[in-house]
Subunit: 318 residues, 2 copies
């Protein structure tokens, strides 16, 4: 059990990220009181049923008042409205942070409204699953994952250190970065992959020459991998693309150029060009496994679970 | 233990698929003798060290002679050469099949050379991992997966039934299909996903504004999912695109059209269009899970393994 870093933590939004933070912060004892606000009365009631917090607030002001740490865990698109409504009710010296997948826009949306007497430190834990809502959270979500913080140069270093300590106790590695660089890095490591996944699943479901049932039956050929990202929260991802437009379009442009070259190689039967690309991409996975960001087992360890589940059926059949 | 269906099975090629077939066929007792041929002396020696077969042949003719079932487990591009070399040495009534990811081209490459007295039944088990070589095989690979057979109408139905029984005993569900339809179905469920995965990993590794080390560190944001398919065997996949060119280009054309529309929606800030697509793709994953082709656990069950591995490190740190 770590020392209490923040007597009162306010969570604005209680989806996958908010609920995971609540569970992890409680488990490690880094906060004493968890105050939860979310707009939906149903979601707030569900959070209460799950026992995620100590107090539950439909009123956002009541939630953040007296909080030492305020974490905004909503889709990126509502952060300006949140900053406006909480600005006049924040405690002296409070840290205000968030978990949004975009950082430049968060700064633009929130910084103009937040008072001088709070420490505004935008944040982004690179962690998640395809599930959403307060039931999706689990305390281990942040273990071994990176959390990027993008404080302005003027922000109090002691406040940054305390927020860094918070994420480290939850299991994360913390990195400080410029907000705009964050948005470029995430455009390639997260935003473009989601866009591509959504797109291919859309293309497959629109086909007329191949039935949807066939796409589903034979999805183990590779397609099913993409359906995980394409099952992510639609509101969250709409907001990411509306709020990181420039970097997303830049990465998409590069992807499309490369894909056009690959298309040409297929059309002209250029086996050497195909082989060259298909060979050099192999080592990147190895690097990701070595960096502790992917498991070693083949097929994401998935076939082990599948085989266990199916082995019984198979034995029954024989 | 099932009855022996084929006294002698010849495997041409002993990579992930060949070795998995050897292990599964042995486990279930559906063959008595497993004869293995591969071109590389090193790979053949490795197969022997692993005890995958009963006899090992550098001479392909010695391997297939007297075989009741011949399974070609090589990249698609060498199947014509294999058909030519084995044609005059096949046993009367033998079944000749393969495991290639393309079927139209296999028919064109092999059918003209195979004699009337054998049953030629092209096949494709929709199963695999990103690993390759004889060490990558495991007996459970086919459990719960589909295996597609594409025999011509003229092929003996009893032979088809026997090959179907073979795959069912290995744990697969078998479907009969026209070879050209197979190539369209697999173009969307397998070939396009691999192409897209190879492409995005290539785009990411060529960036200059974002360092490769950053791509690796922050890959848990989504990118790492693609690196699995992009770590697949380069020779196999080169041959797939050279031999299923028309269907792959067709699906790629549709994908690119859809992606261009999505790009326009991002540029013009059309949140409704983004939300609509991101919502309707969600249900497909549910259908794949319900069809038994994907595991239920979030994140491919991956975070469970990760958390277990990392929990200890985390406890040590605190």
């Amino acid at each position: 059990m770590a020392d209490c870093l923040f007597p009162r933590m306010a969570l604005i939004g209680i989806g996958l990220l908010g609920s995971s933070i609540a569970l992890a912060a409680r488990q490690h004892g880094v906060v004493e009181h968890i105050a939860i606000h979310t707009r939906s009365a149903d979601t707030l009631a569900r959070a209460q049923d799950l026992g995620l917090g100590d107090s539950y607030h439909q009123d956002i002001i009541a939630c953040v008042r007296e909080a030492d740490l305020v974490i905004v865990c909503t889709p990126v698109g509502v952060c300006e409205a949140i900053a406006k409504s909480i600005a006049d009710h924040l405690k002296d010296g409070a840290i205000v942070t968030d978990v949004g997948s975009v950082k430049g826009s968060i700064v633009k949306q929130m910084a103009p409204y937040l008072p001088e007497h709070v420490h505004f430190i935008p944040g982004h834990p690179i962690a998640g699953t395809e599930n959403s809502g307060p039931d999706a959270g689990f305390a281990e979500l942040f273990i071994g994952r990176w959390c990027i913080l993008t404080p302005a140069d003027s922000v109090d270093r002691d406040a940054v250190s305390r927020l860094q300590a918070f994420w480290e106790i939850l299991g994360s590695n913390v990195e400080l970065m410029d907000a705009n660089h964050h948005d470029q890095v995430l455009a390639i490591t997260s935003h473009l992959p989601h866009l591509i996944a959504y797109n291919i699943v859309g293309t497959a479901s629109d086909l007329e020459m191949v039935r949807n049932s066939e796409v589903i039956k034979y999805s183990a050929g590779g397609f099913r991998d993409f359906t995980r990202l394409a099952a992510s929260d639609p509101t969250m991802w709409r907001d990411v693309f509306l709020h990181n437009k420039e970097a997303a379009l830049e990465m998409l442009g590069r992807f499309t150029e490369d894909l056009t070259a690959l298309q040409r190689a297929i059309r002209w039967g250029d086996g050497d060009a195909l082989f060259e690309l298909f060979s050099r991409t192999r080592s990147i996975r190895r690097s990701i496994i070595d960096a502790g960001q992917e498991i070693e087992a083949p097929d994401f360890g998935r076939h082990i679970n599948e085989a266990e589940g199916e082995a019984q059926k198979s034995q029954t059949r024989l």
